[in-house]
Subunit: 349 residues, 2 copies
């Protein structure tokens, strides 16, 4: 069902997922289009970003942000066009980075909006990827916590995903030996042939741990963690003394419903942290690095302009298809950054 | 058996401990006194330091230093007196910090020796404690990795031990709320009454976890880890966002012989690191901070001179008693820094 100008379709949280989300956890609703009041804008969603962190918001476990309420519109970053403006700083037709969530239209008082201008307008969805939150996550986590030095070995999980693909490419720019980890031969080939990683290994291969050891023959200096689970267990024994592990996500655990069976591997990690003097550090990009966005954006835009970064998008058409795309992303079915093309950039009829 | 001038008693590793060491893992031997050659010194041990890290050296698991060999003298820091010198930089009667190990005498070519001078000579065993490796560990781990800010809550395990007692006192100097953890009422009282901690809790109390939560009502900003095990499990849920966990030891795990039963708690730690953006970092004081010893020594000596630091030693007389004292230390039976008074500071007859 396409966007129209009378109705606001939105997708709400129908129930909290137990384990992996299912289609029944989402519900599409239609409302009358809201009317912007004094000082308000009406935004029309063109691109919607799907990101793993959203799974956390669907649960009511304690976290750094409150959970979504049942019947609340699912959250999410969007690239939107200003349809109507009663706000002095914005005019109809402006492109903005917004946090409108999974819906066609949203009202805004302008707070938190970032007006898009310059090169990103040639490819507005990049504001949700390479030049947005995932790129910022890759840049700061790798450079500030990982602090990779030329010649060091950097390993990155989810190597063809939005964050991982950029981590590996930035590490190559910094002169590192880069080994990616991805699911399936096609993704691995892409990471080597297009992204320029030195090697990319398939974590589904039964000999994955041995291969990782072989291709990190001088150990691992930086492991960029977004996955957790079995991949982490294969990486840990290979970490070098004074290695760094920035942690930006744990997608393998997001759908977990029960504690894992033993043995308890916590003492193994503690012991590795001590013996190898590892630094393991979690971060939430907006909260820890918000003040350095400009630095990131300037440097990243320059690399983009120089053609030094590849960025693959997995584009899914239509808001209706967001739940299925999201469920698939948590299973690793996507290939590249998942964005929903909610509408064309021409006004709806 | 006292020191004499003809014989070098030494305690060697008889067998590798399986789990907790027993007396049978140690053997005392007597040798003829070695004679220093050209450029060499003969050192006589006065004080021997016992430290938990020695347990690691008795195992042959992979570590940052090679294991002790069977029949090798057990390693250890000592405060020694130069008995004979054929070395231009040292003269008979000089006090030195050495790494002579568990024996009465040792030959040295001077490398690695630190000549003791100034205030520490009033209390030479402090060179193995407050002004030596344990003090350096407390100082750097707390200040460089922990980075405590005034008003923050610092929790320290093994609160009356060599390292922990100093961590808590330095944190008080820095204006923090300090909660110690120790085994037994006497140690807890000491930490509060003598060391000046705001509170010290007994980890053997069945309500320990609830008490910790009550006395860290604003959460924990820095947890100085030297213990691991159940104490860590009680601390982790209380860590604040952006908390720091310097890891200098894991004494609860040193005698572990088999993996712990499940559930696997590794995902819990990973998830806490991510959600709370924790920094967990291991360090080995000599290897990571050797270049900052002077800074530590100057500041710490000043605090000592100002009477701002208390330091309790658990003095055990006689090299013969080192194995039993060591075994007890790993069980937490000591009360303060364990040092063996191998001999008086007057020359042996």
């Amino acid at each position: 069902m396409p966007q129209d100008r009378q109705t606001n379709r939105r997708i709400v949280l129908a129930s909290r997922p137990h384990g992996a989300p299912t289609a029944a956890d989402f519900r599409e609703e239609a409302q009358h289009l809201p009317t912007p009041g004094q000082g308000q804008l009406l935004l029309r969603t063109v691109w919607l970003s799907l990101d793993p962190y959203m799974r956390g918001r669907m649960s009511d476990a304690p976290s750094y942000v409150p959970p979504l309420a049942i019947n609340e519109t699912i959250c999410g970053g969007t690239v939107s066009i200003v349809e109507q403006s009663h706000h002095a700083d914005f005019k109809s037709g402006d492109w903005v980075l917004s946090y409108s969530g999974w819906q066609d239209f949203a009202l805004s008082d302008g707070s938190g909006l970032v007006k898009l201008s310059g090169p990103v307008l040639q490819h507005p969805s990049w504001a949700l990827g390479m030049l947005g939150m995932p790129g910022f996550t890759a840049y700061m986590g790798l450079l500030d916590i990982g602090n990779p030095q030329p010649g060091e070995t950097v390993v990155v999980a989810a190597a063809t995903g939005a964050v991982g693909s950029l981590v590996g490419q930035i590490a190559k720019i910094k002169g590192c030996h880069v080994v990616g980890i991805a699911g399936g031969a096609a993704k691995c080939r892409y990471a080597e042939d297009v992204l320029g990683f030195d090697r990319c290994l398939d974590h589904r291969d039964p000999n994955f741990a041995q291969q990782l050891s072989r291709h990190c023959s001088e150990g691992i200096d930086v492991y960029f963690e977004s996955v957790g689970g079995a991949v982490f267990n294969a990486v840990l024994p290979l970490m070098n003394t004074r290695g760094r592990i920035p942690v930006c996500g744990l997608i393998a655990d997001y759908n977990r419903t029960a504690p894992s069976a033993g043995p308890d591997q916590l003492p193994l990690l503690q012991s590795a942290i001590l013996r190898k003097r590892l630094r393991v550090q979690g971060f939430i990009i907006t909260q820890d690095y918000g003040h350095r966005f400009d630095e990131f954006f300037r440097q990243m835009s320059q690399w983009v302009a120089q053609g030094r970064l590849q960025f693959r998008e997995d584009i899914v058409d239509g808001l209706d298809n967001a739940p299925e795309a999201f469920i698939g992303m948590l299973e690793g079915k996507n290939f590249g950054k998942v964005v929903i093309r909610v509408a064309g950039d021409k006004p709806a009829p």
